[in-house]
Symmetry: C2
Subunit: 157 residues, 2 copies
DNA sequence: GCAACGAAGTTTAATAATGCAACCAACTGG
DNA sequence: CCAGTTGGTTGCATTATTAAACTTCGTTGC
């Protein structure tokens, strides 16, 4: 099948999908952000074949989304927890959730809502803001070529 | 192989992935949101096999993400444009983009930045806010069971 | 300390999804 | 009406996914 890799693509959306855009990775990340840590927990929750889970966990670790930590309950097994890079995926999960909440044809089948821990009230919708605070829709944005990186003034001496 | 469908899942993240979570759909949606409309444009931009593009466009239309419109340049061909449901995916694309901008190991390979059309300045990061305006991180949120829907008071007479 | 059990993987074989390339039909331009 | 383009289909090879059996430990129970 030779799934064409997007790793070298210059589009940041494609680059993100190349890292965790396959069928299971985002669900594993979702589970991890819900606090699941053990191989068996993921397997029971997702119902995917164990070999697939093995390879997914491995590549997510390789790519710095997850890391393995020695134990936690004292047993000699390992657990999988999100790295900062992995925690950074949280807004993507929120965006996916909110899209479903707004557009799903059967919203009654959605089991949970996201609330803020303090007040217990539903969170607001993600908003894209300009630097002066206006709310932006897709039509209010454009893409510009990325400006050249500031080069370090002098590498040595 | 029977790729396990997530359509009946109660998790809104899984439900979204079931709609456009495959390898190409989000990239097609990205292209559509950049203004590409023609079969040939998508094919040239994405470099995917034409049969795959055919099936993807068809399912995206079936699912209400895209719709076909008769022409635009007068020719008798059809074009594919986003529905409101499709435009609603925009925040997800932004979230993916911003994740790459923040965490990619080779940010120098990113070609474009998103700016607001008016001022030409980079947009701010998507923020998740509570109803009283606090910025929430993943740890500041919880999931609650969805409250029962308000039932229509009386269906007939 | 030894047997049974379970958790975490690996291996294997069958099957479904994907990719590639060639083919086809309709439309366009002259 | 003929050549080229657009949009799409069909077949075949390749790869991913799955389920189930098997391995390899660690963890009890005794």
């Amino acid at each position: 099948m030779k799934r064409t890799s997007l790793a070298g693509d210059s589009c940041p959306v494609a680059r993100a999908l190349d890292v965790f855009g396959d069928w299971w990775s985002l669900l594993i990340i979702r589970d991890a952000s819900l606090g699941r840590r053990r191989f068996g927990e993921f397997q029971a929750s997702l119902g995917l074949a164990k070999n697939i889970l093995t390879t997914r966990l491995r590549t997510l670790v390789e790519r710095g989304i997850l890391k393995t930590v020695p134990a936690s309950d004292g047993s000699a097994y390992q657990e999988y927890v999100l790295t900062p890079k992995g925690h950074g995926i949280f807004p993507i999960l929120v965006a996916l959730r909110q899209w479903t909440e707004e557009f799903d044809d059967h919203p009654d089948e959605i089991a949970t809502i996201m609330v803020d821990r303090d007040k217990g009230k539903p969170v607001k919708k993600l908003a894209l803001l300009s630097q002066d605070g206006r709310v932006l829709g897709a039509a209010d944005t454009t893409l510009k070529p990325r400006p050249a990186v500031k080069r370090a003034r002098r590498v040595s001496a």
